[in-house]
Amino acid sequence: MMSLNIIVLIKSVPDPKSPPTLKVDGSLDLKNVKIVVNPIDKYAVEAALQLKERYGGKIIGLSLGDHDNIDIFREIIAMGVDSFIYIKDPDYQRFDTLQKSYVLSRAIKKIEKDLGRVDLVLCGVESSDTNMGVLASQIGEWLKIPSISYVDKILEIKNGSIIVKKIIEDGFMTLRSRMPVVLSIADTGYEPRIPSLRDTIMARRREIPIWKTTDLSLEFRETVLKTVRFKQIESKRLGKIFRDEDVDKMIDRFFEELKRDGVSLLR
């Protein structure tokens, strides 16, 4: 039996269902924002769980942030990861992807030292807040290991190699890679399991160690990318919405409006 050591990277983000609003100075109003696990990271968790079911091993969840709401990670534990580590840094809001990926890669190195070996690092293809999609590649570069983004499904692990199906512009590509490798998982090939009530209760009792960045012997501490400000998207759309229980009346008004705006559907 193989036994894989898998690290899944989890990001805490503002709940995509209610994104933060803007303050007058163009900064984000994060005061009453609800923090949740980046939804697409759950697909990475599911991928890891299926690998563990098939090949055996250990899954460690890892997250970096500045908030205190570690309870949001209990859902990931309830899904079935073996342990979860949270790295807390009060400066996190200022970090760019370079710093975030660096800190996480140092943490991965530390875990590797404790475990002896890390076979896979998984994460979601992008986060719902910054949408950069660079984490897997940057961690791969810091750790000097391969990385593959947009993985639809992990097909097989054999003889120290992993075979994955990756999404490309016009379809799919099946690749074989050596391990360890960093994979970013898309939301197309997996369905994140809903944890049972029992597992949810058990997860409440688990300890989630909190590491400080000072525990990680970090050398590189610069943030090079600066966020200047945020802007509301000016909707260039007309936004003319019609609503009436009397469908005929609604369609009448719709066609009238099209006519008034000089829009002709028939050509």
């Binding site: 999609g133 590649s137 391969p146 919405i241 019609f242 028939l266």
Partner: protein, 339 residues
């Protein structure tokens, strides 16, 4: 030594320079003019020296090229090493790349190698002074990039005032094809690098499944698209409306997965990107994975029974109600108008 040059990464796809990466030259020149620098192009790969002549006539000042037998198949580790070599020696203000999946991976790794900033999926770039909010220090004429965040709910302006080069991957299709300039001598600098076994990703491509694109929706002037709410019966109505309007049928990923239409009609992140004159979204909620493929349509009309559906926020006209009631009535109305 930082120069005020702006570099462009020219992507080699199937033995040719990609047209979308060429379009970055126009933008690079615009930025370089303000900065007082020049425009450079970077080409890396295997057997790429012959491509220099395809590029010589564009508005570039220098072409940096690395031609190495081991640089193939977009191996992102070796490619990023190659590009980083050039950038570390030349230290331009910025490197512009097209936001392809591979491009982003290469850009990300370059940023780590050079300890510099990367911003992906930029929708625009401009020059402005940057004032540090803490120190008050002003960095004059810094490249700023605008990109969507929160899945398109907001946009963010980012910049790298200190570290150069700033690596920016840009959404394709923003800038026009570059002009050709004749009778100029462009400097061509060839660089060499070591590519050891450790510098290779060593991934092996086992199989490629291309979605048979029998339909090129990018040419359609009218697209009637169906989503999860449409169901199989809805697609019959959608086809009827599309035919009536002399348009094509499109679909979201869930509709394709449910088998209501073929995969080549899929529009969105993992499908086609379209810009028709008229886009009618039927039973489509408006999830970002889909809207990213159609948000630049000239006119967007949405039909959905959920008044809170996000699609209405990006629509010009919206009809709230049951598509199975609305569509037949619209079809009937259009038939009357036609006759």
């Amino acid at each position: 030594m930082n120069s005020r040059d702006v570099y462009v990464y020219l992507d080699v796809v199937e033995g040719r320079i990609s047209i979308s990466s060429l379009s970055l030259i126009t933008k690079a020149r615009e930025l370089a003019k303000i900065l007082g620098g020049g425009v450079g192009a970077i080409i890396v790969g295997r057997d790429v020296k012959k491509l220099v002549k395809d590029v010589e006539e564009y508005d570039i000042d220098v072409i940096h090229i690395i031609d190495h037998p081991k640089l193939k198949d977009h191996d992102v580790i070796s490619y990023s090493k190659a590009v980083s070599e050039i950038l570390s020696k030349t230290r331009p203000e910025a490197l512009l790349m097209i936001s392809t999946a591979l491009g982003k991976e290469i850009a990300s790794r370059i940023a780590v190698r050079l300890r510099t900033a990367v911003a992906t999926d930029c929708i625009d770039l401009y020059i402005d002074d940057y004032k540090d909010p803490v120190s008050g220090e002003v960095s004059e004429k810094t490249i700023h990039c605008i990109r969507y965040v929160f899945r398109g709910e907001l946009s963010a302006v980012v910049a790298s005032p200190k570290q150069k080069p700033f690596i920016a991957t840009v959404i394709p299709g923003l800038y026009p094809a570059p002009q050709k300039i004749f009778g100029r001598k462009i400097e061509v600098k060839e660089w060499s690098i070591e590519v050891s076994e450790d510098d290779l990703m060593k991934t092996e491509v086992l199989e490629i499944q291309k979605i048979e694109r029998k339909i090129d929706l990018s040419k359609a002037k009218v697209i009637v698209s169906g989503g999860r709410g449409a169901k199989a019966e809805g697609f019959k109505l959608i086809q009827e409306l599309a035919s009536l309007l002399k348009g094509e049928v499109g679909a979201t990923r869930p509709a394709v997965d449910a088998g209501w239409t073929t995969p080549d009609r899929m529009i969105g992140l993992t499908g086609q990107t379209v810009k028709p004159d008229i886009y009618i979204a039927v039973g489509i909620s408006g999830a970002p994975q889909h809207t990213i493929g159609m948000r630049d349509s000239k006119i967007i009309i949405a039909i959905n029974k959920d008044p809170e559906a996000p699609i209405f926020k990006i629509s010009d006209y919206g009809l709230v109600g049951d598509l199975f009631v609305i569509l037949p009535k619209i079809i009937e109305r259009l038939r009357q108008l036609k006759s």
